[in-house]
Point group: C2
């Protein structure tokens, strides 16, 4: 019914070309490169996009208006209170948010059976929001995603709604979320070769 299996090798070649280019241009999160390499060495999978998870300070004109959103600070690691404060100081207009996002990987699979095997492995390793993101003639995409997340409004239109002590507290919670999802990424990298066959 769907033709993704027939298109798999062609799409894979395109994706690997894109990844090589992204690597050269330093557009791939460094701490996820070895995991991507392991996935891409498997016969029945290839990665199409990825983020290793992040803490960020973002300014947006209105909730959900990602087009006009601006990152005032973005880190793929634990953060210090000082650097978050520095980012917050750049705020001038719109809504100001402190955000945590879990890692997210998009992986194309050759067949639905391959997709389900990866999906179940990822869910079993704690990536509980993993799912099959799209099914089309061209591609069958598994999304690997975890539950860690924060969406905290900090202020608006240049005004701050919280004090530094509050920011210190949410930074501590965010850092514990980062440690948690980095641990899951490590486990995934250890276990991904179970899909080799």
């Amino acid at each position: 019914m769907f033709l993704y299996t027939e298109n798999f090798d062609e799409q894979r070649e395109k994706a690997m070309e894109g990844l090589r280019k992204a690597l050269v241009e330093n557009r791939v999160d460094e701490d996820i490169i070895s995991l991507l390499e392991k996935i891409n060495s498997l016969e029945n999978y290839f990665t199409t996009s990825s983020c290793s998870g992040r803490i960020s300070v973002m300014e947006m004109p209105d909730f959900g208006d990602k087009v006009n959103a601006v990152w005032l600070g973005k880190w793929h690691r634990e953060v210090e209170l000082g650097e978050v404060i520095e980012a917050i100081k750049k705020h001038s207009s719109g809504q100001l948010w402190f955000l945590v996002r879990s890692p997210i990987l998009h992986v194309s699979a050759r067949t639905m059976g391959d997709a389900v095997r990866l999906l179940n492995l990822a869910i079993g390793l704690g990536f509980k929001y993993s799912n099959i993101k799209s099914v089309s003639h061209k591609k069958l995409v598994v999304e690997i995603r975890s539950t860690e997340r924060m969406d905290v409004p900090l202020g608006a239109d240049g005004e701050l709604w919280v004090d530094e002590e509050y920011i210190e507290r949410i930074v501590a919670i965010a850092n514990s979320q980062v440690r948690r999802f980095k641990g899951k990424l490590e486990k995934l990298e250890e276990e991904i070769e179970r899909l080799k066959e």
Copy 2:
């Protein structure tokens, strides 16, 4: 390869029995019942669980420890500042969070083609986090989910980290998210019959 299509009618009967029971026991969010009825009137789909979206105040021993989490307040509608404050006053120990969750519907589909048609309809109507949640011999489940979400730490161990003015502001943002996702649910209810055939 997968047998979900063969098991569809049997699984559907079980799910409909469960739904009837849940309706009698008032365990189904009222504002989503007519949408569930419309989906369940379609030949190739049935619902297995649903939430119409909510604002809540939750106390949990540690991040992600849902087992021991306790709702101090939960509303499937816009809220007043007063009722949120009342819920917050009940806090005594653990982490205190203010949460918004988008609607979430789990819908079994008869075939992968049916699943993809529903998935694409939902994404097109603004339910951008929709996906295929699981594929097994028994069931093929589409998850319909939107992007609205807030995860705001409010305090811990009986101590409040923010003032009432801050709570007033996040309540306003949460209410605007509720209006947004209720609008999407209405559109979905209008458009779902496009899957009739």
